[in-house]
């Protein structure tokens, strides 16, 4: 991927964050976050828990509201305009730590529901697209089951398929493998790798250093609401500059 990344930075950024600040009550979660994400780029965000990395990506599709600064996604600025928020959400897919599949719907219905009501696709077309994506994540035979009947890894792959079904330009991953048994992590990471190879713009919050090293174009390190360090994986893992980064890496590697 590194071979192509140089080409990507000639494009306009698809996400622009400028001096984003956010508070939970009195607690200052995000402090002056400024970052650009370019089309087809894979940005991996790591950092200790409570450092604000999840909150940051949840701000990008407005699951959390930021109080200061600006976030521009695909040319639309995130504000209080409901139409803008809806438009941005249509372009962004999100995958959660706890999968958040809809337990009362079958796998197929989970994937086709939003297509029908948000993308206004006919029933058949939505189902076709859902099956296509289930094949892509490797579990077409589970289409008729309910999420409760699937393993964690399978559920997370369905969640990825559900997000992809909306044909998003950007995918946000919020610790997608943290709730999984070690045996199932790989199947999810493999799907994410394939997705990255296909040229999807991805923001990934994760603790999987191997994935970051292998797939990321850029790694951001969050600590106490700030981006403490950023750089290519090689640079980040081999030659970290900041003391906090060194400490963090020494503890997890």
């Amino acid at each position: 991927m590194t071979g192509t990344s140089a080409a990507r930075f000639h494009d306009e950024p698809i996400i622009t964050c400028r001096k984003v600040n956010k508070w939970f009550g009195d607690f200052h979660v995000l402090k002056d976050i400024s970052v650009d994400v370019f089309p087809q780029e894979v940005v991996v965000i790591i950092g200790p828990s409570g450092s604000g990395k999840s909150t940051f990506i949840r701000c990008i599709n407005r699951l959390e509201e930021h109080q200061e600064g600006e976030i521009i996604v695909d040319g639309i600025e995130l504000g209080h305009n409901v139409r803008d928020i809806a438009a941005i959400r249509r372009e962004i897919g999100m995958v959660f730590q706890q999968f958040n599949l809809f337990p009362h719907l079958t796998v197929l219905e989970n994937i086709s529901l939003a297509q029908r009501w948000v993308r206004h696709r006919p029933h058949d077309e939505a189902d076709q697209r859902a099956m296509q994506l289930l094949e892509r994540v490797g579990i077409p035979e589970q289409a008729g089951k309910y999420p409760g009947q699937l393993s964690g890894g399978q559920q997370q792959r369905v969640a990825i398929a559900r997000a992809l079904a909306m044909d998003p330009k950007i995918m946000l991953f919020d610790e997608p493998t943290s709730a999984l048994d070690p045996e199932m992590i790989k199947e999810v990471l493999d799907v994410m790798k394939t997705l990255a190879l296909s040229g999807m713009t991805m923001l990934v919050v994760t603790h999987e250093m191997g994935f970051a090293r292998e797939v990321a174009d850029r790694v951001l390190f969050f600590d106490m609401g700030r981006i403490v360090e950023a750089g290519t994986p090689e640079h980040f893992f081999e030659d970290p500059q900041h003391e906090r980064t060194k400490l963090f890496l020494s503890q997890i590697l």
Binding site: R89, P103, G148, M166
Partner: protein
């Protein structure tokens, strides 16, 4: 210490041999283990088990004993229509039947759609129903009906302060070909036998029996007093009191001697009710055989019984083939819609044989007939009489309905399955039946309501004041549930709304209604509403009760649904928002379905309590199941039979409540509940 064997120190036990599963020891699996674990696991447990067993057995023994030996179940069998329909008009009765059939059929489709139907269950139900059909047939073939004892005589018979004359003529009904037999009751020749005699008895015989019974009681008390006075355990005061009682106690003359029971011969005649032609005639005495007549036609007959000679005497006669009758009179509309006048129906209590032929007349006077109040069953009823008189006729009454219900239910299941086979896609094998059932759940109650109520000119509108019994209870319940469901859901959503006005209005409504008893709401609907606006006074009382129940139930339903909404993890809404779904779409497709499914047990619990709470409408003058049992036992024929009526409606309430909770458990266990709970 040194002579103690040192345990061998095993560090690791590596077992590379074949893995063999051995059966569990006897007391860890199987019924014995279950009993030990659940009933006798500790001393306290054992004590509780015995205490519980004794309580239950005691209660059930008392109830069963009473219902076999004492209870008069005629109040149920002869008033079944009232219990079911109240005073609902006769002409549109088929519409209620049709509605009930549709509902049962729809239930079958719903079973096919939402639950795993086991044909085994149906087979078991069919066997039970077949047994219920067979039981009365066997009982009737094997057991005779108890006799009716009547007294002939020419002297007044006194028992306490009540004096009765024996009737000389008694009219009764019979079917063609029935055998009528009359003989002098031989066993009633002594007071001891007379006092414990059981069977139907006319008033004179009853007086004789009572007189014999009280004489025996007096004798027993006298013996008791003598025994006490002979002993030296009494205080002076007690001795004075008991001596006084003994002096006042007089033993009546033996009843059989005083009334010369069965001493003189009796002349009996059986007349045809219409023409008064004599069919049979005999003079019976204690040692002569019975007079037997095969009655030629269906209709009325008259029994004449007189003592031969002028000497004062009585005779107790045992009659087989004559049974107590219930008279019902009402006015009926003729074919043209006008009134055809009063109609008298005479119903034979032992088999519900009904005739509308007029009573026989002799010398221009109606002949007294074997009326139910004067010919009650007396004495401790043997089990055989209970089976023959009460159980068999009741089963015969209800089994046709049971069969209809069972067949319609099975047909509904088959229809659902067939629809799935032909119309459902392979990957969703139940889509059609689920869709049909969902529609039916909404549409059927409405159809049933309008069938019972009427629609404009097509189905004449019925007078809701005549609705009663189970019909009214069901109507109130179903309308209450269906009406309160949308209202309750809206209130629950309103209470969680972001808009303060909506939220506080919802809270105000819910908390106000929950702070008021249902009785108050019903009284308001009946009494207060007409004052608010006189136009509202024209609305039927039933409908006002329905509105009251609906408004009341909605507040509780809202709280249940709110509980379900709160239980949904916030991740569900986040995921839906991240997908771009709008607020109403999230509510409709994501949160509400999950919330409702989570609170199915609470919702069904509420339906059950609503079903039972409808009995409160009795207080505002509607005659639901509870009200009708009060009305039924107010009839002269059934006065004092409140216990029987209440036991019956208790069973009815239980059957329907249990059916509801059974359905809810199946719903939870079925694919729509269990599997989806992640």
């Amino acid at each position: 210490m040194t002579d103690m064997p040192q345990p061998e120190r095993v560090v690791t036990y590596v077992n590379t041999g074949e893995v063999v599963n051995r059966p569990a020891p006897l007391l860890t699996a199987g019924p014995l283990a279950w009993i030990r674990r659940n009933l006798f696991s500790s001393v306290f447990d054992t004590a509780l088990t015995f205490l519980f067993a004794i309580t239950v057995i005691g209660a059930i023994y008392g109830l069963v004993n009473w219902s076999i030996q004492q209870a008069n179940w005629f109040v149920v069998t002869l008033n079944l229509r009232q219990f079911m329909l109240g005073r609902y008009e006769v002409d549109p009765e088929w519409r209620v039947h049709l509605a009930a059939m549709l509902v049962v059929f729809g239930t079958g489709i719903a079973l096919a759609a939402f639950s795993r139907v086991r044909w085994r269950t149906f087979a078991a139900l069919a066997i039970v129903a077949a047994v219920l059909v067979a039981v009365p047939v066997v009982i009737e073939a094997a057991l005779p009906l108890p006799p009716l004892y009547v007294t002939a005589g020419n002297m007044p018979i006194a028992s306490g302060s009540v004096t009765q004359e024996a009737q000389s003529r008694l009219a009764f009904t019979a079917r063609a070909g029935e055998e009528f037999r009359i003989a002098v009751a031989a066993q009633a020749s002594g007071d001891e036998a007379l006092a414990v005699q059981s069977g139907f008895m006319d008033k004179a015989t009853n007086n004789l029996r009572n007189a014999a019974e009280s004489r025996l009681l007096a004798q027993a008390r006298l013996a008791e007093l003598d025994r006490l006075l002979a002993s030296d355990l009494l205080t002076a005061n007690q001795r004075v009191a008991l001596t006084g009682e003994r002096d006042r106690l007089t033993i009546p003359d033996p009843v059989v001697e005083r009334y010369a029971v069965n001493q003189a011969a009796v002349t009996v005649r059986v007349l045809r009710g219409t023409t008064l032609e004599v069919l049979a005639e005999a003079t019976l005495s204690a040692d002569s055989g019975p007079l037997s007549v095969t009655l030629p036609d269906e209709g009325w007959y008259v029994l004449e019984k007189t003592i031969a000679g002028d000497a004062p005497a009585t005779a107790i006669l045992r009659v087989d083939g004559m049974y107590p009758l219930l008279q019902r009179s009402f006015s009926r509309a003729d074919a043209g819609g006008g009134s055809a006048g009063r109609v008298n129906q005479y119903i034979r209590m032992t088999d519900n044989f009904l005739t509308e032929a007029p009573l026989p007349k002799i010398d221009g006077q109606d002949v007294p007939f074997a009326v139910i109040i004067d010919n009650q069953y007396r004495g401790v009823r043997p089990f055989a009489d209970y089976l023959r008189v009460h159980l068999a006729p009741f089963l015969k009454l209800i089994t046709p309905a049971l069969w209809q219900a069972l067949i319609l239910l099975a047909l509904g299941v088959v229809a659902g399955r067939l629809a799935d086979r032909f119309f459902s896609p392979a990957d969703r094998p139940r889509r059609t039946s689920v869709r049909v059932a969902t529609w039916l759940i909404i549409v059927l109650p409405i159809v049933a309501f309008f069938l019972a109520y009427g629609v404009g000119n097509v189905l004449p509108v019925t007078d809701t004041r005549n609705w009663g019994g189970l019909l009214l209870t069901m109507m109130l319940t179903v309308v209450g549930i269906i009406g309160s469901f949308p209202l309750g859901v809206l209130l629950a959503l309103g209470r969680r709304s972001d808009l303060p006005v909506v939220r506080y209005l919802s809270i105000l409504y819910i908390e106000t209604v929950r702070g008021v008893p249902l009785v108050t709401v019903l009284f308001m609907a009946q009494l207060l509403v007409p004052f608010l606006n006189p136009a509202l006074a024209d609305i039927d009382a039933v409908f006002r009760a329905m509105v009251g129940i609906t408004l009341f139930s909605a507040a509780y339903l809202a709280e249940n649904v709110r509980g379900g909404l709160q239980a949904i993890p916030p991740g569900q809404v986040e995921a839906a928002r991240a997908l771009g779904l709008a607020g109403w779409q999230i509510t409709l497709f994501i949160t509400l379905p999950q919330a409702l499914r989570a609170v199915i047990p609470a919702l069904v619990g509420q339906c059950i309590s609503l079903f039972k709470d409808t009995s409160l409408v009795t207080i505002v003058g509607l005659i639901d199941l509870t009200g009708i049992s009060n009305a039924v036992v107010a009839q002269t024929e059934f006065i004092g039979l409140r216990r029987e009526a209440y036991v019956f409606i208790t069973v009815l309430y239980f059957v329907f409540s249990y059916a509801m909770s059974y359905v809810s458990r199946r719903l939870e266990m079925s694919g729509s509940g269990a599997v989806r709970r992640a």
